[in-house]
């Protein structure tokens, strides 16, 4: 597959949204929800490529009044949703479009009232949601795609049960999965976009792309739609070949083992302990 350039993204998005446009046209207001939990570069696959978010929002603005269209930034416990749009380029990208980029903070988002709970931000509860996640491996959830990305907008670092709970209360009208870059342990320029009104089916496909059994992703129920129907015209083999299967970095576990070993060594040798192994800094 060829690289998907910004110029190519828009027609692909238009095509993916075409079958859902009638449903969206009647919406009183629409929230476009990209994965934006930390200031990672779009080529890492950790966050949604803002070019894809822009294409989705601008495509929607042809059938939805821009005044009734917003891009919602969730942020996380590690990066607030006020500065993230600037770091990720959303502020500049949407300047002059009439489409507001808003923080889910203050709407009960992950840094707002939703912290620690599963209260869905009002913005997501009261509006039609168009989910624009990316696809990444995760040590905690194994995979973050459509469903888990949605859960991140409610609660930072969600567990599987939170993903399930959020999926029951927020059902996107449509999801456009940004596969221009995905993170499969390392970034991969994978050059695809997927669209579906069925978040479970979309995640089933994503699991397949990453080479994961559906059972390995705890929050993923049985598919409610046949996978092949979504991918008509796209050869799964080529997606798999592009997204090379790699093990996600087990960094945190390695660090714990290293700290334990180093503490033992320090006691035996009298050497100083590196600060990060001295103990928790709670302040």
């Amino acid at each position: 597959m060829e690289t998907v350039s910004e110029d190519q993204i828009r027609p692909l998005v238009d095509e993916l949204l075409s079958t859902h446009r009638a449903q969206l046209t009647g919406a009183s207001s629409v929230v476009v929800l990209p994965t934006a939990h930390y200031p990672y570069h779009p080529t890492t696959g950790q966050v949604t490529n803002p070019a894809v978010t822009e294409a989705v929002a601008l495509s929607l603005s042809e059938s939805v009044d821009p005044d009734r269209l917003v891009v919602g930034i969730g942020g996380s416990a590690w990066a607030d949703a006020e500065t993230l749009p600037r770091y990720l380029g959303y502020t500049e990208r949407f300047r002059g479009t009439g489409i507001d980029v808003v923080s889910l903070d203050g709407h009960g988002g992950p840094d707002g009232n939703g912290t620690g709970g599963t209260a869905v931000p009002a913005l997501l509860e009261e509006n039609v949601v168009v989910n624009v996640p990316t696809l990444r491996r995760s040590t905690r959830l194994r995979m973050v795609a459509g469903m888990a990305s949605l859960a991140w907008a409610v609660r930072a670092e969600p567990e599987s049960d939170v993903v399930t709970t959020v999926a029951e209360s927020v059902r996107p009208a449509v999801s456009i999965l940004d596969g221009t870059y995905v993170f499969d342990g390392v970034p991969s320029k994978s050059k695809f976009l997927l669209g579906s009104a069925d978040p479970v089916a979309l995640d089933q496909v994503c699991a397949t792309i990453l080479g994961l059994d559906s059972e390995a992703v705890a929050y993923l129920p049985e598919s409610t739609a046949p996978v092949h129907s979504m991918l008509e015209g796209v050869r799964m083999e080529s997606l798999r070949a592009d997204v090379h299967s790699r093990k996600v970095d087990a960094g945190r576990e390695s660090e714990r083992l290293l700290a334990t070993g180093y503490r033992l060594y320090s006691r035996l040798s009298g050497d100083a302990l590196p600060p990060q192994f001295v103990g928790d800094v709670d302040g």
């Binding site: 060594y265 035996l268 600060p275």
Partner: protein, 355 residues
């Protein structure tokens, strides 16, 4: 009466804590006190055995007569802390960047001169074994004339690789607090090394870029010229790459008349193997009653240990430290010129620092 060098450390972040541990391990040195605004960090240094901890570094300086003050505070406090410590008669070892602006650096040097004390800067690259080995090769003449040099340092700056575990620190993304981006944070190390190798550098070209839309440069390239050695040096630094120790993206490459050498070739082939061997040696040292080679398994923290030790020994002996305040100021001056050249004014307003 103790003849120990009395040390106080301002700022107990990771590197500040390394300085605490390093100083405590040195013969004839006592760590009298530490200051940090963060209670968790104060508890950490207390656990390490520091008796007196302060929340406010000014209170520490007012209360404690010290031979050496280590300034490991955020850059926006380097100048006022150094000026105050020097005014009270302490020699000052300053974390990089030495200052946010040349004006601040000049003020710090004046304060040290007025107080009759010396300043040092923690430019640790000089103390890394692979850089020292490269310097030896260069000084030996084996490479002949070196027309080209390339120095690179890239890491993830204020961010974390996946999966993040701590909030993005606000002040590290405030250019007024830091003095700038990757160039002043990482580039100053490279400038110090290049001037150590080649003498005074003239800035010929500066490119400053951003990969994310940050309030300062996260990517910088400088072209510099040493008229003394006739070397053109290219400096690259950035905040855009995930760094996972022990893999550190730092290198200095010299293209000489006779051959090319790169500092990377002098790194331990496998830093885990290096750590294991160094650890085993230190255990044996303990068994035979000798002191460990402190921080040797970590490789990089060892350089901080050596930098502080050489500064303290210089103070004890009454000689000029290896890396002086003037050296630190030179790096900040070049950074400032680069910001001007690239059309970016210093983010730090020019203010008179109180005497």
């Amino acid at each position: 009466m103790s003849t120990d060098i009395a040390v106080g450390v301002l700022g107990a972040g990771n590197i500040g804590t390394v300085h605490v541990q390093s100083a405590r391990a040195m013969d004839g040195v006592s760590v009298e006190c530490v200051a940090d605004t963060d209670p968790g960090r104060r508890e950490r240094v207390e656990r390490l055995g520091v008796d007196r901890v302060y929340e406010d570094y000014r209170a520490l300086l007012a209360a404690e007569p010290l031979d050496v003050v280590v300034v490991a505070l955020p850059p926006f406090l380097h100048c006022e802390a150094t000026v105050e410590a020097a005014r009270r008669g302490s020699n000052v070892f300053v974390e990089k960047p030495f200052a946010r602006t040349p004006a601040e650096g000049q003020r710090m040097i004046e304060a040290a001169d007025d107080g009759g004390v010396v300043l040092g800067v923690d430019h640790t690259l000089r103390y890394q074994p692979e850089i020292q080995r490269l310097h030896e090769e260069y000084e030996s003449g084996r490479l002949g004339h070196v027309p080209l040099a390339t120095a690179t340092r890239v890491n993830h700056g204020p961010f974390e690789p996946p999966e993040p575990s701590a909030p993005v620190p606000d002040w590290q993304l405030d250019p007024e607090a830091t003095g700038g981006g990757a160039l002043i944070d990482l580039g100053v190390h490279l400038l110090d090394v290049l001037e150590w190798f080649f003498g005074g550098l003239e800035l010929r070209h500066a490119e400053l870029e951003t990969q994310l839309n940050l309030p300062y440069e996260d990517t910088a390239t400088l072209v510099l010229r040493s008229t003394e050695s006739g070397t053109t040096a290219v400096l690259n630094c950035g905040f855009f790459q995930w760094e996972r120790p022990p893999d550190i993206n730092t290198s200095v490459r010299l293209d000489g008349i006779t051959e090319t050498v790169d500092s990377s070739q002098y790194l331990p082939r496998n830093l885990f193997v290096h750590a294991s061997k160094a650890a085993a040696k230190n255990v044996v040292r303990r068994a035979v009653g000798r002191e460990p080679s402190y921080f040797e398994p970590t490789y990089y923290y060892r350089a901080h240990f050596e930098a502080l030790r050489e500064f303290v020994e210089a103070v004890r002996a009454g000689r000029t430290p290896p890396v002086t305040g003037v050296d630190g100021l030179r790096t900040v001056e070049i950074v400032s010129q680069a910001y001007e050249m690239a059309g970016k004014r210093s983010p730090v307003p020019t203010v008179e620092v109180g005497r």
